[in-house]
């Protein structure tokens, strides 16, 4: 990695809380701490993966980065400029460069718009100077690049299969030639063979258009295949950050180790996985100290009281006292 290059996207000490104030017709909502002091940076050309169990805040982080909801605290920088405080108007040039692909292609495409209308819309908003002909050409070019037949333009989303729909939503994200694409579990609603197809389309697009991805998934085998860097999240905090290769070769954090051991492998039956004790606590009632301590087999008193900082141990960055003290 070239350290002289400044990162494309920088997330600095971001916090996100939901609720907490009086809700509609009710006195006080419980506060959910979805993100706690998250800092990351995504370099140009990365396929940066966020992994973790449901409820760990990976989707919240992605949505906060792209501006779907503002952070409660902290800063988000794009190409060195702070974007979380901009007004809708000021944010426009950035929305052109940042696009999102959602999980469920059955819900993310407007059922009343033809494929053509869906794909034209971003151009009409962001590039009104284009002529009808130019728009058509652009749609055609992008449709072809994701392996769709441009003749589908007049059809509606319900006429397509899940894989085709997901390729249409990828096409929509690519219409404005973005630099940075956030993909929130783009393949988890699809069948295995279709997953391969969609991942291939995304990898081709990255190669041809020099995209940077922020890719959210809970499927670690996809991360190993697709990602260049990985952040493992647990209960709103990042617990380990590393190059994909290092993470899979030498996972340090006890949670990462447990996650990796839980990947079902095509081997002997009942292959041993590390069993975590206890249940996932909710973000409404965070444990003190290291948030992972109630489920960690290596937790001690310090883990219950203090919050661990990131420690760079060469290949991975890990927030864990057990690693820091050499107990692991």
């Amino acid at each position: 990695m070239n350290t002289a290059l400044k990162p494309l996207v920088e997330i600095r000490n971001v916090e996100k809380r939901f609720g907490g104030d009086g809700g509609f017709l009710s006195s006080r909502q419980p506060e959910v701490k979805a993100l706690n002091d998250v800092s990351l940076s995504v370099d140009k050309g990365d396929a940066f993966c966020l992994v973790g169990e449901s409820g760990c805040g990976k989707s919240t982080l992605a949505r906060t980065v792209i501006g779907l909801h503002p952070p409660s605290n902290g800063e988000i920088l794009y190409d060195g400029e702070r974007i979380d405080t901009l007004s809708q108007q000021e944010k426009r040039p950035f929305t052109r460069k940042m696009q999102m692909i959602f999980q469920n292609p059955y819900a993310s495409l407007n059922p009343r718009m033809t494929v053509m209308q869906t794909l034209e819309e971003p151009l009409r908003i962001h590039r009104p100077e284009l002529s009808r002909q130019q728009v058509r050409e652009k749609v055609e070019e992008v449709m072809l690049s994701v392996g769709n037949d441009p003749a589908w333009g007049e059809r509606y989303p319900h006429e397509f299969s899940g894989g085709q729909r997901q390729r249409i939503s990828i096409a929509r994200a690519l219409m404005l030639d973005p630099e940075f694409v956030v993909a929130d579990e783009p393949i988890s609603a699809l069948d295995v063979s279709i997953q391969a197809q969609v991942l291939n389309v995304m990898m081709d697009a990255q190669e041809q258009r020099h995209l940077t991805y922020l890719f959210i998934t809970h499927d670690l085998s996809v991360v190993e295949h697709f990602g260049s860097r990985v952040a493992v999240m647990y209960l709103g905090t990042v617990c380990e950050l590393a190059d994909t290769r290092s993470l899979f070769a030498t996972p340090r954090h006890p949670y990462t180790q447990a996650l990796l051991s839980a990947i079902p492998k095509m081997s002997e039956e009942g292959a041993g996985h590390i069993k975590m004790t206890g249940e996932v606590p909710t973000a409404m009632n965070l444990p003190s100290g290291c948030v992972f301590h109630p489920r960690c087999p290596h937790a001690n008193d310090r883990c219950r009281k203090e919050v661990p900082d990131f420690l760079d141990n060469g290949e991975t960055q890990t927030a864990c006292f057990a690693v820091e003290e050499g107990r692991l």
Binding site: E53, N200, G270, M276
Partner: protein, 332 residues
């Protein structure tokens, strides 16, 4: 005689003027305590095959041919009353999403006791005892207290444990599980799978596991059946099928997995897409997507043939190069 024998099962869905056929002559059997996996993509008929065993096909679907032999009766011809004695009693079912399966307005205890009382003539107290012991078996902490909880008070993993406990209540001889871990996280999925494997082994309960996840199948089942376009295209001992798949479709499924490809490389994908039920190609249904297809494949539907219980419906198994896995052996 096998515990369950399905012979030449055909299922159709009459829709106005046209009739869609979802299953074509499906045969399989399950021995006592055996664990069978049914694998395939959405729309291949794996759920229809399993649902028809318990007559759970949604209307207007119906069994148009074939027999389902279980404990001396043909389930395909049973009336509703007789079916009720089997369903949820001798054969129980676990569905994908535990939040949809459990009744949100009844406590766990009420739902369990209700199920037991429906099938057995016992007192509430006795039913409660059994329910608590089953919750213990699925390793739910403090089961007595959990009996009074509502489903929303439990996590996804706990809910699925409760569903498994309910499936085990009446000591069934077969459990049919339709994608039981798809809605759960990896770590929880691993726990639930190990739990199901142990429970089935210890109580010698037969398991029919429907899933699209080949890795899950390889860990839990002894035998596997791969379906495509309403037909069984390959079946055999799980390890044989996964290490040496014969049918090009099974090969395609395995080769599409990220762990079967070098990191960062293009993934192997099966070209084309699944045919719709009213447009299944003539001959071998897989021929338009197959790299080895020729004129022969268009003519007739290939029979299920093979050695030592490992069979596939492919005319060209001898011509297809041996399967090579790109998987690097995991050394731990």
């Amino acid at each position: 005689m096998a515990l369950l024998t399905v012979r030449n099962l055909e299922v159709e869905f009459p829709l106005g003027r046209k009739t869609l056929q979802a299953l074509y002559g499906v045969d399989f059997s399950l021995e006592k305590g055996e664990r069978l996996g049914i694998v395939g993509e959405s729309g291949t008929g794996k759920s229809v095959a399993a649902f028809s065993i318990l007559n759970l096909l949604s209307k207007p679907g119906r069994i148009s041919r074939g027999e389902i032999l279980f404990e001396g009766s043909d389930l395909a011809t049973l009336n509703d009353d007789a079916m009720r004695d089997i369903r949820g009693n001798r054969i129980s079912m676990i569905f994908q999403d535990p939040m949809m399966t459990l009744n949100p307005v009844l406590t766990i205890g009420t739902q369990m006791i209700e199920c037991l009382k429906a099938h057995r003539n016992i007192s509430r107290e006795a039913a409660r005892e059994i329910a608590i012991s089953k919750l213990k078996e699925v390793m739910i902490p403090s089961p007595e207290n959990r009996m009074d909880s509502y489903p929303h008070e439990l996590s996804g993993g706990m809910r699925q444990r409760v569903v498994i406990a309910i499936a085990l209540l009446t000591d069934p001889s077969i459990i049919i599980a339709d994608e039981p871990t798809t809605a759960l996280d990896v770590t929880i999925q691993a726990e639930i799978m190990v739990l199901m494997l142990e429970l089935c082994k210890n109580n010698s309960v037969g398991l029919i596991l429907i899933t699209h996840d080949l890795a899950v199948v390889s860990q839990v089942t002894e035998r596997v059946m791969v379906m495509y376009a309403g037909r069984v295209v390959e079946e055999g001992p799980t390890r044989d099928v996964i290490q040496n798949p014969q049918h090009p479709y099974t090969r395609g499924l395995i080769k599409a997995l990220p762990q079967e490809n070098r990191p960062g490389s293009r993934l192997n994908q099966i070209r084309g897409s699944m045919p719709a039920l009213d447009a299944i190609p003539a001959g071998c249904a897989f021929n338009p997507r197959c790299d080895y297809a020729d004129g022969e494949c268009l003519k007739a539907i290939p029979p299920l043939l093979g050695k030592k219980g490992h069979k596939a419906t492919c005319l060209h198994t001898d011509r297809i190069p041996p399967f090579e896995s790109a998987r690097q052996e995991v050394s731990t």
